[in-house]
Amino acid sequence: MNRATKRVRRSLPLAAVLVGAFAVAACSAGAPGLFPSAAVTRQGHETEGLYRLVFTIAALIFVLVEGAIVWAVLRYRRRDDALPVQTHGNRIAEATWTIVPAIIVVVLFFLSLQAQDRVEAKVAQPDVVVDAVGFQWQWTMGYGCPDAYADTPVVQPARDCDFALTGAGTAGPALHLPIGKTIRFRLHAADVIHSFYVSRFLYKKDVVPGRVNSFDVVVEQPGTYGGQCAELCGLGHKDMTFTVTAEDGAAYEAWYAAQQVAAQATPAPSQAGAFTLNISATSAAGFDQTSASAPADTPIAIVFQNKDTTVQHNVTLLKAGPDGGDLIGQPFAQPGTSGSYQVPALKAGTYTYICSIHPNMTGILTVH
């Protein structure tokens, strides 16, 4: 085997990995790839364009530099012990590879700055304002909230707004937005830092206690998109999801009206002869009552008082449904309010109750 083939053979693993990395990246079109998920907002398209530009330049530099490394390794392998020419430097070459990259990054900076101005631009009068409250570990989304919310960090949308969306169980709230309209999100944190992130918006903004962050966005493409908290916020970080459904104006208006009606509806009356069970919570550390008891084969009305001033809670009975499923307490009791949940007759036994967004809040219900 001559020396050249041997060199090539020895260098194959390196080349194979580089090619492999690219192949993995390239062959997964549609699935996760080298470009962000397709943007659905006007602002996201700005970011998308900028990403393509930076990616192109970075890819060129990558090929150039990686190529030079591979070439040097292949071409300049040691073949004898003679000392090579001892080059200490070259001013022209060094000046070139200082100045050219400097020009590239300064140009990129100005392009990036212009895009930033367009992405972060805010209109005087947005068409829709949504107040998102992040808390451990869910979101409340308030529609039609007072203007004062623009600079009030701690808010209660369920009390002050047209209506407030909460999640069910560990599923987050489902937002609806009209397409083509300017939507302003105002972000409030009830406890720790969260981050409001919709990957198809190509955008996120931190939800910071003590301040109200906001951003404007115009959704252009109808559809339902997933969102999720992007800043570590504790045990349930992974569960802080929500969805955004973008639809045309008429559908949005109809949805909005239905939500308003539902918010004003009076809660269903208690079943006749139901046993009343009082449970309360003062903080997300646990229920005030870690044990409770109720008679068997009798409907139960749980009256839940949420004395926690920051976060909403509910009472969810695990594996108590007729089909063995969980009985999720809906709706959540907002901070400082109470709610009541109707539970069908239960068989004798012990049941665990939790707050469905705080699985660490537990208690035992003994039915006998």
Binding site: A21, D191, V192, I193, D206, A230
Partner: protein, 550 residues
């Protein structure tokens, strides 16, 4: 060449080897103890990484519930940064810097021993959280208010105490390094003849001296918040949760350079020796190192672009600009190999692996510097990929290169090259397979620090790939430890200068005697040993009258 085997002065006393090592103030022994400690923490951090990767291989809970998962990634990051890379680089610095500048020891040998002994004890303090009701779980960044008493338990206090101690160790050792480099250089070793590794250690320790006290103050403030009713970071009581991020990242970004600059130095030692050429553009390289050090203090808020609380353009332009001196280094390294006579030893392979992996980590930086792109990729797996290309593809690869390069000087034995090359192949492939898919996961919206993801999110295939890659990395590290084991059982086969190297540490025995040098060669350039072997004829720059004398 000095090859005399001198009788150690301590032979007169009958002390056990264990006593000798426990009480030593010899910079070489302290360096070796730093390195061993760092490798042990590397194993611990690696086990946690494998736990994280196993958990993420499929939706649902495989191995770690959310509580343990949060502890695992918090302790993984904290361990790898503060108890693997930092002590490892301090260890190589300890062993190599006095030798490279022709000194007999560090300036303050007993402070040096203290700096070392703080590390294992603070590490035990950090890990004791696992036995005392849960280790820290707020990420290595421990953002307030999540790290406040209301949301985090005893593990957070242990984390603060351990890292404050660790910081004291860093400050002491920074003072020691600076005094050593400024005051103990041999005759003729002018600042512009310092080996590049010494230069990078110098700049790193200046960064440490400015950055670590800031972190220590922040940690003490958080400790007061948690235990004595303070409210520095509690907005409900008039504090500011963003303040912690400013303090943390004012330390945290220079910290990134603290973790990578000595790695640059290692690469700048290995590449010239195995290319048989001097480092291309020595002075530009020194200038680039210093400018990275200065600019490194002006980029911290690029970690905070999405907080809505920082002035975006300033931190965007400084972040773009810091890529220029880093790029200069990359080009200088390639020019060093250009028209050289490359000898592909394991150390050289790791140096080349460093170049090709760190390049990706560096290019990623240009994306994060652009604020709109950062809004999309911040806190996703893209960032996880970027930081691991810098810290694993960069720092860890350089540490492997340094291990193979300086092991013969430390022990008198050459690590097995065949096992070394096998290890390089496994680790290089493992690095790409583990960390490259994370770019794609981040771009498709997977946030970092989540214990679980929905089955229909489309993230599983790439996560499986990354998990397979991480197992490869684990195997690669085991090969290294096997190599240590068999080599240390073998004969002393290295000789004084096995690599035909350039710098002074190779002008003494392997391992060196306790006082380091029998006699020093004349120092007329940054490659005194090269000058000695090749007579300097036509190679070293001609001396002007008076240069090289004091």
């Amino acid at each position: 060449m000095a090859t005399t085997a001198l009788t150690p002065r301590t032979a007169a006393y009958s002390r056990s080897a264990i006593y000798e090592w426990l009480t030593t103030t010899d910079h070489k022994r302290i360096g070796i103890m730093y390195i061993i400690t760092a490798y042990l923490f590397f194993l611990l951090g690696g086990v946690m990484a494998l736990g994280i990767r196993t958990e993420l291989a499929a939706p649902g809970t495989q191995l770690l519930d959310p509580d343990l998962y949060n502890q695992a990634f918090t302790m993984h990051g904290t361990t790898m940064i503060f108890f693997f890379v930092m002590p490892m680089l301090a260890g190589f610095g300890n062993f190599i810097v006095p030798l490279q500048i022709g000194a007999a020891d560090m300036a303050f040998p007993r402070i040096n021993a203290l700096s070392f002994w703080i590390i294992p004890f603070s590490g035990v303090l950090l890990f004791s959280g696992f036995a005392l009701g849960g280790a820290a779980a707020g990420g290595w960044t421990s953002y307030a208010p999540l790290s406040e008493a209301k949301y985090a338990g005893i593990g957070q206090d242990l984390w603060l105490a351990a890292l404050t101690l660790n910081g004291i160790s860093s400050i002491l050792s920074a003072i020691n390094f600076l005094a050593t480099i400024f005051k103990l250089r041999a005759l003729g070793m002018t600042m512009l003849r310092l080996p590049i590794f010494v230069w990078t250690v110098l700049v790193t320790n200046v960064l440490l001296l400015f950055a670590v006290p800031v972190l220590a103050s922040g940690m003490i403030m958080l400790f007061i918040d948690r235990n004595y009713g303070g409210s520095f970071f509690d907005p409900a009581a008039g504090g500011d949760s963003i303040l912690w991020q400013h303090i943390f990242w004012f330390f945290g970004h220079p910290e990134v350079y603290i973790l990578i600059l000595p790695a640059f130095g290692i690469i700048s030692e290995v590449l010239p020796v195995f290319s048989r050429k001097p480092l291309f553009g020595y002075k530009a390289f020194v200038l680039a190192t210093v400018s990275i050090g200065v600019l490194g203090f002006g980029v911290w808020a690029h970690h905070m672009f999405t907080t809505g609380a920082v002035f975006l353009p300033f931190f965007s332009i400084t972040t773009f600009l810091i890529s220029v001196p880093t790029g200069v280094k990359m080009f200088n390294w390639i020019a060093t190999m250009w028209r050289g006579k490359l000898h592909l030893t394991t150390a050289m392979l790791f140096a080349i692996g460093f170049l090709s992996s760190f390049l990706i980590g560096g290019l990623d930086g240009a994306f994060s510097a652009s604020t709109p792109i950062d809004f999309a990729i911040q806190d996703t797996y893209w960032i996880v990929s970027h930081l691991h290309y810098v810290l694993f593809g960069g720092s860890a690869m350089a540490i492997m290169a340094a291990t193979f390069y300086w092991f013969p000087k430390m022990t008198g034995r050459l690590l097995d090259e065949r096992l070394g090359k096998l290890q390089f192949a496994i680790i290089f492939v493992g690095t790409q397979v583990t960390f490259f898919p994370m770019h794609l996961l981040g771009l498709s919206g997977m946030p970092r620090r989540i214990q679980d993801y929905a089955p229909n999110a489309g993230w599983q295939d790439l996560n499986v790939l990354a998990t397979v890659g991480s197992y490869l990395l684990g195997v690669g590290v085991l090969v290294l430890f096997w190599n240590f084991f068999i080599t240390l059982r073998g004969p002393r086969n290295a000789g004084d200068d096995p690599w035909d190297a350039n710098t002074l540490e190779w002008a003494t025995t392997s391992p060196p005697p306790s006082y380091n040098f029998e006699r020093l060669p004349e120092i007329r350039s940054e490659r005194p040993l090269f000058d000695l072997k090749h007579g300097g004829a036509g190679h070293a720059p001609a001396l002007t009258a008076g240069e090289g004398t004091h």
